[in-house]
């Protein structure tokens, strides 16, 4: 079942067509990967889908509803959340508070209830806490729950962002280079986690530089180059596409794509 429809999406930055006329769909329960060389427009595409940037042209539909240009907080309410390539962690907050923040929509009530610590507010806080601890366990950060987030390693913060995004209870999850800066063991774990998330019915949109990871877990691959979509298909066919190999020529990824 396709959850997310992208149609002719594009944006210009002062004459530069960062993303131009990109169309594809992402289905529930599948990993849809967006690959392409540095500067191809992958992050920009994610920013438009998640409402961080307003698209210059085209349309984003979530579950059949047009959600183009809708604010990120509204999209979160509709079940779309994301992580960031350049970490956007709440550095001064504890690891647990970062994960708890992801539960904002289910935990929030009235300000009065919060200030007076009314029973209903306390109950919601307890539920959110249970949920957050479960997610932290899932990304193996439960031991660090009370640590200040700023003290964590890069790989740990990447996982914390995933936990926070999962707190929203997303139907569509956008992961922008979740394995960047992770060692082999951590990459393996993220690989397993993404596969599990997709298996649980989430439509996962993945940007990742590690081609081995992409080829292993993707159901569908979209290739961008200079803002243009140059190929689309299953991992097998995309990796043999001459256009794709040409786009990657001269970059280290070519070995991975070919092999």
């Amino acid at each position: 079942m396709t959850l997310l429809h992208i149609e002719g999406l594009g944006i210009n930055f002062g004459g530069l067509k960062a993303v131009d006329n990109v169309s594809f769909a992402a289905a529930a329960g599948q990993v849809t990967s967006v690959i392409g060389p540095n500067g191809a427009g992958k992050t920009t595409l994610f920013n438009m889908i998640s409402g961080v940037y307003t698209p210059g042209s085209g349309r984003v539909a979530l579950d059949g509803d047009n959600v183009t240009g809708i604010h990120p907080s509204q999209l979160a309410r509709r079940g779309l959340s994301r992580t960031f390539q350049n970490l956007q962690i709440f550095q001064d907050m504890s690891v647990l508070d970062n994960a708890l923040a992801g539960f904002h929509l289910s935990e929030r009530g009235s300000v009065w209830g919060d200030m007076l610590s009314l029973p209903a507010a306390r109950r919601r806080a307890r539920d959110a806490r249970d949920g957050a601890m479960k997610l932290l366990k899932r990304v193996r950060l439960d031991d660090l729950a009370s640590e200040v987030a700023g003290n964590l390693s890069y790989g740990q913060l990447k996982r914390l962002e995933i936990a926070r995004a999962l707190g929203v209870g997303p139907r569509v999850l956008l992961l922008d280079e979740p394995a960047a800066g992770c060692n082999a063991v951590e990459t393996e774990e993220i690989d397993t986690l993404i596969a599990e998330l997709a298996a649980s019915g989430i439509a996962v949109l993945l940007v990742e530089h590690d081609m081995k990871l992409v080829m292993r877990i993707s159901h569908h691959v979209v290739v961008l180059d200079h803002g243009q979509m140059i190929a689309e298909g299953d991992p097998e066919s995309v990796s043999q596409n001459p256009e794709v190999i040409k786009a990657y020529l001269g970059t280290e990824a070519v070995d991975n794509v070919a092999g």
């Binding site: 998640s50 409402g51 961080v52 604010h71 990120p72 907080s73 999209l75 979160a76 309410r77 959340s81 994301r82 960031f84 956007q88 962690i89 709440f90 550095q91 001064d92 907050m93 508070d97 708890l100 923040a101 992801g102 539960f103 904002h104 929509l105 935990e107 929030r108 009530g109 300000v111 209830g113 919060d114 200030m115 007076l116 610590s117 507010a121 919601r124 806080a125 959110a128 926070r164 995004a165 707190g167 929203v168």
Partner: protein, 316 residues
């Protein structure tokens, strides 16, 4: 975290209760009450500045509204001073919601200048509307009446003692509300948007709405502080809303540690006591404030309390 809230409140309660044992004279009750009033306003700033990361250089404007509500409403509307306090809170909240909406879109310096403008505006109105406010000479404020009520019940307390306990209790309530907020969905969302607005919005946090809530809450804290100040002094001038007062409470917050309620109270204690203890400073108050601000920024950018806590933690 839950325990830490009660520990902080217990320490605060014990300090408020035990401090009078050290007072050499009745005069110190007055200083104590002044500290509590300042600490209340500073607690509001902790929510706005420390957690939500939004600066206000005009918060004394709301203190002015609270103060003049207590001066004007009993005289002209025949309201009981307690009702006048509530009226001040409502007006401050309404005004904060009204001006907060456009100006909280601004960031950093721009927000600082806009809030500064608001504070100046309130001071100007209070100074110019002589017929109502007595202008720069100020006006007298009717008595609260609670002390007389206590006397009729057989409890005789001096004005100083009464206001010490009254302000101490209000501060405790204010601190309790703030500490509840800290660990709630709202408090966490405020701290989150301080950390990253874009990340906060992608997890469903309505950033403009939450900023506005923080602004309104902190305005109400300042308003109550202004009301208590007016009632205990029995007299009020537009200085209560003035730029210096705004800077004073921001400096207290920054000195103690703008992220923590207890830190804020510590800042209020130090900067309220300083001019009292070292009377030589009274004349150079603004100079001392400026110097303190610069020194804290250089040596303890996170404020007294967090810096001390970090230093203690580092030692095994």
């Amino acid at each position: 975290m839950l325990t830490s809230k009660w520990v902080q409140l217990a320490v605060l309660a014990v300090l408020i209760a035990a401090l009078p044992l050290l007072f050499p004279s009745g005069y110190y009750y007055r200083i104590g009450a002044l500290i509590f009033v300042n600490a209340l306003a500073v607690t509001g700033l902790v929510i706005l500045v420390g957690w939500a990361g939004q600066i206000s250089l005009g918060h004394a404007g709301f203190a002015g509204i609270g103060a003049y509500a207590c001066a004007l409403a009993p005289e002209h509307l025949g309201l009981h001073p307690v009702v006048a306090i509530v009226l001040g809170m409502v007006i401050s909240a309404g005004l904060a919601a009204l001006i907060g909406k456009p100006i909280l879109r601004l960031k950093g310096y721009y927000l600082g200048v806009a809030t500064l403008g608001f504070g100046i505006l309130v001071t100007m109105v209070l100074t110019n509307e002589r017929i109502w406010t007595g202008g720069p000479d100020g006006m007298s404020v009717a008595k609260l009446g609670l002390r007389e009520l206590l006397r009729d019940m057989g409890v005789r307390v001096s004005g100083g003692v009464f206001w010490y306990w009254a302000c101490g209790i209000v501060l405790l309530i204010g601190a309790w509300l703030a500490l509840n907020l800290y660990n709630s969905a709202t408090g966490r969302a405020l701290r989150a948007l301080h950390g990253s607005e874009v990340a906060a919005s992608t997890i469903g946090i309505d950033v403009p709405r939450l900023k506005l809530q923080a602004f309104v809450i902190s305005a109400v804290y300042a308003s109550v502080a202004g009301s208590l100040l007016a009632l205990q002094n029995g007299f009020i001038t537009p200085d209560v809303a003035g730029f210096m007062h705004s800077i004073e409470i921001v400096t207290m917050a920054v000195l103690g540690g703008v992220g923590s309620v207890v830190g804020a109270i510590l800042g209020a204690v130090i900067l309220t006591l300083l001019p009292q203890v070292l009377t030589v400073f009274a004349e150079y108050e603004q100079l001392v404030l400026g110097a303190v601000m610069i020194l804290v920024m250089i040596f303890l950018p996170r404020g007294l309390l967090p810096s001390i806590a970090a230093r203690l933690k580092r030692k095994p």
